[in-house]
Symmetry: D2
Subunit: 101 residues, 4 copies
């Protein structure tokens, strides 16, 4: 089945439920920020919440990345050939975007 | 009125509409991420979207911070005394949290 | 005297000795990195040292920035006028560069 | 010979000369910062140089990391077994340190 294959290829599907829970919590943080702005909360308190949401997004991306290395990159390395190289470059580009964001 | 005073104290109220628009767009990005995870999208594409949402949060916090400096910190400096010092320290702590998140 | 004026304008001069000590320590970390590369140390250990040096540079910049806000920005705010606005914008740009680096 | 083996294991040895050149340039930037502090240069200009040095360190670490993935992690994956898992976890921890620094 397509979904099972995807589970193998993408690596993160096993953790899908936990990922969705995390993203829903982050969505809640963003909605909390909207409430704070609507209620004219003090800027520093808003900033503290923005930092918390940013950190939560970052932890999420680090988890995704580790799963990607553990599954997609390792499997491509085992198959060998140019695909392994391509996966490493692609992962490195994603890491650079994370580090710079 | 409390709200008018808050508007003066917090500085960002004038930009309230634009802030709420931004936060709603970020909320949309987070919901987009949930859809991507649900549809087993490729991890690297999910990561690219996470980086985009992180950058959007960061730009939002930089804007809030600039408004805070331009209003709360500048006004406290003009009133002088220990409050000015306290505002500078508070802003510096918020900057440190941003830089480290 | 020019130096005394500079001390007032730049704010960080009082902490000059401590800043120079910090920068010399960071220079030592960078030279330590060169030795590690020369001795073919394990990449992960090199990366750990690079992170330590990056964090040290970041703390240094956060300290500089706090001094800048406490002196240059506060004094410009007290003098008032367009200079205060300019200083806030300049500080905000520096913060944005820090957050994005 | 030990060094030749290390060259294979660490991956970055082929790029040793270019790495050392980069680190020497960063060392020069740090010494330039010391001169700026000694000469009481304007804080914002010092901060701009600190951001440049931080970015240079970051690019260096991203390059090291890519080489590490391309060599150590890929080779461990090809050998298989628990070593591959360990390498992925170790690389992920290094990435987390980078992202958070």
């Amino acid at each position: 089945m397509a979904t099972d294959e995807a589970a193998e290829v993408h690596g993160y599907t096993a953790e899908k439920t936990s990922h969705l829970k995390r993203l829903r919590r982050i969505e809640g943080q963003i909605r909390g920020l909207q409430r704070m702005v609507e209620e004219d909360k003090y800027c520093i308190d808003v900033l503290t919440q923005v930092s918390a949401a940013t950190k939560a997004l970052q932890s999420f991306s680090l988890e995704l990345l580790e799963e990607h290395l553990a599954h997609c990159v390792v499997e491509a390395a085992q198959r060998g050939g140019p695909e392994a190289e391509e996966k490493v470059r692609e992962a490195s580009d994603a890491i650079a975007r994370l580090v710079r964001s």
